[in-house]
Symmetry: C3
Subunit: 109 residues, 3 copies
């Protein structure tokens, strides 16, 4: 067995949870935080058969990988005076880090 530890952005954590549940992958969630004063993140701890490790990582990647998104920044007073509108800008969201570790034994009771 392997332990998959995955750190994902909070905004993606419900998508990750739902996708793991749909695939019948048991996971434990923790509230966590980066150390570089970024906003909170979520850590998933998943004990899984060796044969399913790639599938589990694929599910996490599909639902949390970094991607570009267009966001409309909030209006500020100066730009209202100038143009009356705010333009969408492209930002990167998401992104995940995954560690795979060995498990020597497993018990459920």
């Amino acid at each position: 067995m392997k332990m998959v530890m995955a750190i994902v952005q909070d905004k993606d954590s419900n998508k990750v949870s739902a996708a793991l549940a749909k695939a019948h992958v048991q996971a434990t969630r923790f509230n966590s935080a980066g150390s570089f004063l970024r906003s909170g993140n979520t850590t998933f701890m998943i004990g899984t058969e060796d044969e399913r490790v790639e599938e589990v990582i694929d599910i996490i990647q599909d639902t949390s990988h970094a991607r570009k998104q267009f966001m409309t920044p909030p209006l500020n007073m100066d730009s209202i005076v100038d143009s009356g509108s705010s333009f969408p800008v492209e930002v990167e969201v998401g992104g995940a880090t995954v560690f795979v570790m060995p498990i020597e034994s497993f018990r459920h009771f």
Copy 2:
């Protein structure tokens, strides 16, 4: 040394803590949650000598294993009208999952 990671139901976590403390087993507790929208659970992280792994797992099993319990469900209005009482039903409570992982080195300072 081994790392014992144990996920137990919240309702059993104080019993598990107290039993580990009584056996002088140092543990670290985390609030956690299942991914299947179940209620919260508690994860214990325990670094221990190889010789004590079975004892630690036994303590966790004794204090958190799944068992049947009789519970009286809350009255609902229809059953009050019908019978005026509520009957105890048998439900399963508790249950734990334990992973044992290798530790390569340990420091305390």
Copy 3:
């Protein structure tokens, strides 16, 4: 790669975070607690290259190891009557436990 799991006292956690960030060591923080009814602590999870494990442990040790500190205990009514002042006493603060575990693979996306 190795996984460094470090449990430090809450009062030292910001110092540890800042020192790791300054050394460009990525870490994930968790709120945690001891099982002996002590106050809360903070657990850091750090995946790092083998070559940096000792450096990471040194950073944690420098910023969280146990040390003596003089503290002025709060006045109590009897001692006010007796002497009108409170004397500083030496107490131990800080202290950390660190586990190093193997990582088999790592992904970032």
